[in-house]
Symmetry: C2
Subunit: 264 residues, 2 copies
């Protein structure tokens, strides 16, 4: 059965109230195009686009911006060689790219959060989903043990941890992407009696400085920064599964890119 | 000779045009207080305040906010135990805290940048200082070698690096603190023919994603994220030296805190 880009996007956004402003858009591409094959990924990186071309996919669904910014500021890069080579690849591939960011975060529960919890097999421990954080009561593990578990489940080489690594954790708050900011996260430690917050990314002068002081005061609060991509890629993997179920005639692949940082 | 908090602040801000808005302020404290001893630090953390008390200092000069935010949102934390214990320590110590952020970044060259370059012994390689970045031409080293050098000079356990670790670097851009953002940094690679940007901190979806693509395209651009505190603490160390020269009767100590993150 033939499906169009527009039908896929309609499925992805169905029932979600249109945000006042959104970065989500199909560019390049037109809704009337027939979908041959779909690739989902955290970012439509050079590698992901190359893999999509190799697979014969003509629609990439990406969570983050294609050209290294949340707002799409590609005109600032018009003369940049990396930009130009990537833009040329996209044009020559004749591929459509749909940015799927704001809508998936408005799913109930947040579709990106759900993917991460699924990948961690932590869904049975969810106590409740709040708008920007999910509260879990997990079987007790130390911060170190949780770090090891995250690395194993997410196939990532490291996590950054602050606080006592041997502190036992049972109550955990999970925040994907750039939600690891102080105003959102710090009050949660006491309000939700959290032992640990696991976040994607956030300003280093906020939660980390709070944890630095909590540790010095002899308290057990801890923080694990997973990495932005590391926290959100599983949501795009779950999306690939769901698209496969919804459009059984359209092959769908999730592409996992390499971690961008190495520890030296 | 007796000096007051006000005289120290006057020295620190002399000749710098007052910013329209600034986070820099003396709180707690009054300008008329006599300075007994000064401590400088990246942040007035629990540990730094304790050390200041032990040393008999009554003025802490800190670069970042005391309560885990750039804008001083301490009222959000009024009931938080970590906040309350720290606030009680500050009150009982009878210590003054001067936030010195915007003014030192307006020095020519930026006083925080200068401290980092001094600590790296890279001042001889400076080509020029631009407002948010300093361009250097260093003796050729690979990204890995530079990572090792940074760790050794700054006494830090790790850096995060993106790009080819074996790529040779000669032209380097250095950006302290949270200046490692895409709009500021990405255009520099080509405009300044940079091999490497060394930044404190910045959004992971901006420069890192650009480097991810550059690497995949076979290009040599690289990025090292030092950490926010790691990039700015040396500026506060240099400040302690300068205060010691300006006020020879007042003991001045720079306090180095532990890195907040461990790699797991």
């Amino acid at each position: 059965m033939v499906h169009t880009f527009g039908e896929v996007i309609e499925y992805l956004t169905a029932g979600i109230q249109k945000p006042d402003q959104t970065v989500d858009k199909l560019q390049p591409g037109i809704p009337e195009s027939e979908v041959r094959r779909i690739v989902t990924a955290f970012s439509a990186s050079q590698y992901v686009i190359e893999q999509a071309v190799l697979l014969g996919a003509n629609l990439i669904i990406t969570h983050e911006g294609v050209f290294f910014s949340h707002q799409d500021n590609r005109e600032l890069l018009a003369d940049d060689s990396v930009y130009r080579q990537k833009a040329a690849l996209i044009a020559s591939a004749g591929i459509g790219i749909y940015r799927f960011h704001d809508y998936v975060h408005r799913y109930t529960p947040d579709g990106i959060m759900e993917g991460l919890l699924r990948e961690l097999e932590w869904e049975p421990y969810v106590e409740r989903h709040l708008p920007h954080v999910t509260i879990l009561a997990i079987p007790a593990m130390t911060v170190s043990e949780i770090g090891g578990y995250l690395k194993q489940r997410l196939h990532i080489p490291y996590v950054r941890a602050a606080g006592h690594l041997s502190a036992p954790c049972r109550r955990v708050g999970v925040m994907v992407g750039y939600r690891g900011n102080g105003a959102a996260a710090i009050p949660l430690y006491e309000r939700e009696s959290l032992d640990l917050i696991i976040a994607g990314e956030g300003p280093e002068w906020e939660i980390p400085e709070y944890i630095r002081d909590a540790l010095r005061q002899g308290r057990g609060q801890a923080l694990i920064m997973l990495g932005h991509a590391e926290s959100e890629a599983p949501g795009m993997k779950l999306l690939a599964e769901r698209l496969g179920q919804q459009f059984p005639d359209v092959p769908v692949d999730f592409i996992q890119d390499q971690p961008v940082f190495q520890i030296v």
